[in-house]
Amino acid sequence: MSDNERPSIRKMIEDKASQKGATNAAEKTMPKLFLICAIISILTTFGIVLTLLFETVTFFSEVSIVEFLTSSEWYPMFSDPDYGIRPLLLGTFTVAAIAMVVAIPVGLAVAIYLSEYASDKKRRTIKPILEVLAGIPTIVYGFFALTFVTPVLQSVIPGLAIYNALSPGLVMGIMIIPMVASLSEDAMSAVPQSMREGAFALGATRLEVSLKVVFPAALSGIIASFVLSISRAIGETMIVTVAGGGSPAQGFDITSSMQTMTAYIVQMSLGDAGFGTTVYYSIYAVGMTLFIFTLVMNILAQFISKRFREEY
């Protein structure tokens, strides 16, 4: 096969094989470089935990942890400051609850429609448009809440303050609809077609199949999507910073300002807190609380979807 002018390919490959230094070097170094990349993600987690831990410890050396957990007043900027996390928690969970009142029913209804009722073509048109809703930056939602939703609500609820919990809660709910819808739809689409066919064969209507067969079978995935959405709502920052205002909650009045944990962190770092002051460290203590809540919810969501997954 080879002609006389050059050695056979086999011979050439053998000659090259003895001088494959560069290939061998790449073969040895590349996996190490990739391992380093992978380790950076672990270091990020360590970085977050250590950062929060160190500065929170500093904070608790100046403010007692008992006050932080039990006091019902949050006035860090007073000359005689109060550091009770409860009003911030109240604000955070109230806004998240309002968001869920919107996102869960609407998101779930959208998921059932897309998974059980819509034709393939409709589904492929609607889903990307809903993804747009999820891709809009949160600052845009904040702007929308403050300059449009709040004035509209004020015309219905006369006592509504400019900064309130209701408007950002509702807007956050709209933002989270696609998340509930897409995660729940994934769970429902994973239910095998044979289960639906079994019920249809018995004469069940589409609604009965959806609610009595598909919904229970996908329940763990659906609940996991709720938990993840709550976690997302708790961690959401810009909507509440822009439209929720900066006063700690005074009870359950959603028509007035209710500062959330995230809004507090941003508002303090906008310039009020000098480095090394107690207020500066307080943002880490609040950040730590926020981190723990979202982490627990994320782990809970993973646990639910794994532990209670239906084996089809």
Binding site: C37, P137, Y141, G235, F291
Partner: protein
């Protein structure tokens, strides 16, 4: 229930076999709920429509050449986006490569090299948990680690590193999916020719998965340019009248400028903010279109 059984026993066999008497009611219920579910979809789409129309009507009047050539100003009619626009471009130019290298590297490690052991599970679990950490917490990390401990100050590079870590999980997960989509037969063909692992990855796996990886990276970057909170945390300025000169320069970005204008009480500033939002959304639209285009154009069906 009682009623039904009475009817069934009293009916003739043919009546018994014909449609159950509760069927019209059940079908009506089905139609009702179908309408309810469809209404939820329409509600969501309507909200998107209202949001977009509202922003456009608010901001379209303020979009002119000045908006792009002027720095921020105390007078709304003179206020421009020059610094944040350039800042956002800098931010993308830095965040893109950093997060791409780290994210794709991690994905290659997990998909092609890692053995199924505890350490691999740890990395994988860690990544899915990082994806759920609120962005403001990443801001706290950036503030402490990059701005203070590593003395980078409130610079572009400190912001870009923070953003890179924030979008890292998204890039890792989407790159993993793209790598996993490369059929095992192609890898086997390469190994059977005497190729080494790295040669196989570099010459077979990566070329086949690069459209998916790029799509995921662009979508992650479009998440990054809309992020506000982490950059506020690390102290990106809200009023800045100069352009960044190096990665150590102070900076501002689009969402922060929009945030600043939104926070002003004057209605005029809200209109400039809406104009800024239009520009930001157009940038996002362009990036998403590129991502979808790459996916449709180059994604091979194996």
């Amino acid at each position: 229930m009682k009623e039904v059984s009475q009817e069934n026993t009293s009916g003739t066999p043919t009546e018994y076999l014909s449609a159950p008497s509760n069927l019209p009611k059940r079908e009506w219920k089905n139609r009702l709920f179908r309408t309810i579910f469809a209404t939820a979809v329409i509600f969501s789409l309507l909200m998107l429509l209202i949001l977009i129309i509202r922003i456009i009507t608010q901001g379209i009047g303020s979009i002119d050449w000045q908006l792009f050539t002027n720095f921020a100003s105390r007078h709304p009619d003179e206020a421009g986006l020059k610094a944040p626009l350039i800042g956002t471009i800098w931010m993308m130019a830095l965040t893109g490569p950093i997060s791409f290298v780290l994210g794709v590297g991690t994905a290659i490690y997990l998909e092609e090299y890692a053995k199924p052991n505890r350490f691999t599970t740890l990395i994988q679990t860690n990544i899915s948990n990082l994806a759920g950490v609120p962005s403001v917490v990443f801001g706290l990390l950036g503030l402490t680690l990059f701005v203070r401990e590593l003395s980078m100050g409130r610079s572009l590079i400190a912001g870009a590193l923070t953003m890179s870590l924030l979008i890292l999980p998204i890039i890792v997960v989407s790159s993993q999916e793209a790598l996993r989509a490369v059929p095992a037969e192609l890898k086997q063909a390469s190994y059977a020719m005497g190729a080494t692992t790295w040669q196989t990855i570099f010459k077979v796996v990566l070329p086949a998965s690069v459209p998916g990886i790029l799509t995921g990276t662009i979508l992650a970057l479009s998440r990054a340019i809309g992020e506000t909170a982490p950059l506020i945390m690390i102290g990106a300025l809200t009023y800045i009248a100069f352009l960044p000169e190096s990665i150590m320069s102070q900076f501002t970005v689009m969402p922060i400028q929009i945030f600043n204008w939104t926070n002003r009480p004057q209605e005029e500033f809200h209109m400039v903010a809406a104009a800024g939002i239009i520009v930001l959304l157009v940038m996002l639209l362009v990036m998403n279109s590129i991502a979808v285009w790459i996916r449709n154009k180059f994604q091979r069906r194996f």
